[in-house]
Symmetry: C2
Subunit: 299 residues, 2 copies
Amino acid sequence: VVDDYPSRQYQKPTYFNRKDPVIFSDDRQKAPLDEALLDHYEKNGFLFLDHLFSEDEIAKMQRYMQCLRDDEFIKQREESITEANSGDICSVFDVHKLNDFFQSVAEDPRLVRIAEYILGDQVYLHQPRLNYKPGFRGKEFYWHSDFETWHVEDGMPRMRALSMSITLTPNDHNNGPLLVIPGSHHTYVSCVGETPDNNYLSSLKKQEVGVPDDQIVQNLVESYGIEAAVGQPGRIILFDCNLLHGSNGNIIPAPRSNLFFVYNALSNRVGKPFGDTKVRPEYIAAREDIRPLKKVINT
Amino acid sequence: VVDDYPSRQYQKPTYFNRKDPVIFSDDRQKAPLDEALLDHYEKNGFLFLDHLFSEDEIAKMQRYMQCLRDDEFIKQREESITEANSGDICSVFDVHKLNDFFQSVAEDPRLVRIAEYILGDQVYLHQPRLNYKPGFRGKEFYWHSDFETWHVEDGMPRMRALSMSITLTPNDHNNGPLLVIPGSHHTYVSCVGETPDNNYLSSLKKQEVGVPDDQIVQNLVESYGIEAAVGQPGRIILFDCNLLHGSNGNIIPAPRSNLFFVYNALSNRVGKPFGDTKVRPEYIAAREDIRPLKKVINT
């Protein structure tokens, strides 16, 4: 397999243009989103969607999120990632397998049809999780492209995946909201460094390899700026797999939590990791247990 | 000497009302600030002052700030505090002694008369410094009251000091601006924990004792909210010595730097530390070398 997106292979950081479309479907008649929204997504690599779920549905997601967080059985599972200092849960992976309700949300046609349209294919869940950024001492997450990691460490061949983050607490400027560099998804930043075995055990808490070079980040910020994904619970932040994003820490009491689904095109299933590392656990990257989601858009 | 503000002495965190005025002068005819601004300061414990310095003056401060930062001789001095991970300079203390221009700014009558009026006394410089919060990986600073530390570790008897932070880079929501809890200066939060000797060697990088209790912070935030001190270079953030403040880290390229002067009332000179610890170095808390600043307001 040709590696169209080499990273962690060169001595010096570099970058080049994306080699895949951003939106894979052409027939805008069948699109589940307005033309203007699709144009915004193509140009900027992200989109905010409000009011897709009802207040009752959001309230239910919030209740289940709290239940999982308080569940000592869940906390002991390997799918639960805890913060390096505090031991608090920061992520629970494979939430759709741990909880039927979250599975029904992940399979909801309102989400799936958007993923199907943008990716131009039937889709499956690559990585569904709950993220908790606690109040008081929530940690920062440095700039990164998810695709860079999924490509190198999981063997995802093409930029044909997207994330949907359903915010479940208020996200304001002070509690470490998601920061994105709009338009950065058009550029692939090839990073420096070698991937250690079992990198995921530490990288999910603090990423040390697959980190873009400071100067390249600075150039992209000078070209494109930064946008903070602030908003009320229920807002969906839809973003391309290659969009550079990160977040500052959170010293204020209010936590920042979200339900997070990564959809991948069925034609873009992961293979041998391009970084030649051991494959990561199934709960971090669906590999064996691929369950295609029921198609919503007729083709 | 009676300890009116005990902290780090009890097993459990507690809080009580401030026992000092916020503004010590009564004669508003002589005030260097409008009535409305003084009322805001009294109520909220802070104030933003714009256009006090000219653009040329601000540009000169920015140039000198850069010079000091790039000066290897300065970096080696004990007055320079470096970040735990990167080794970058985060603060330079006693800048007025290291640089004549910064001394002239600190003594500028436009600043001194405000300090004199609010503190109702002749004033001196308790702690003048430059703060650099670097871009990319600037560290957070957790909630704290400066007075709590100055009282316990330096022996400052009363809440009769104030800080002026002259911002020298843009402060926006994304680069870890100063966050304050407006009105929190009316409450003294007595903290838990014992002060180790030479605590300043680590506390200036990351504070571990003198940290207010989470629940008390949460109560204060619920009562008063949080305000971010965003603004353009040249804005002066004036705040009471007991105002709870902190800042998140900074992953974006733009650094956040400021010139920072603490003025103390001459009648409020530091004595024996109330925490019974060794005195901290002169550059962190003026003790022997007190130079009263020339009075501006006639009394």
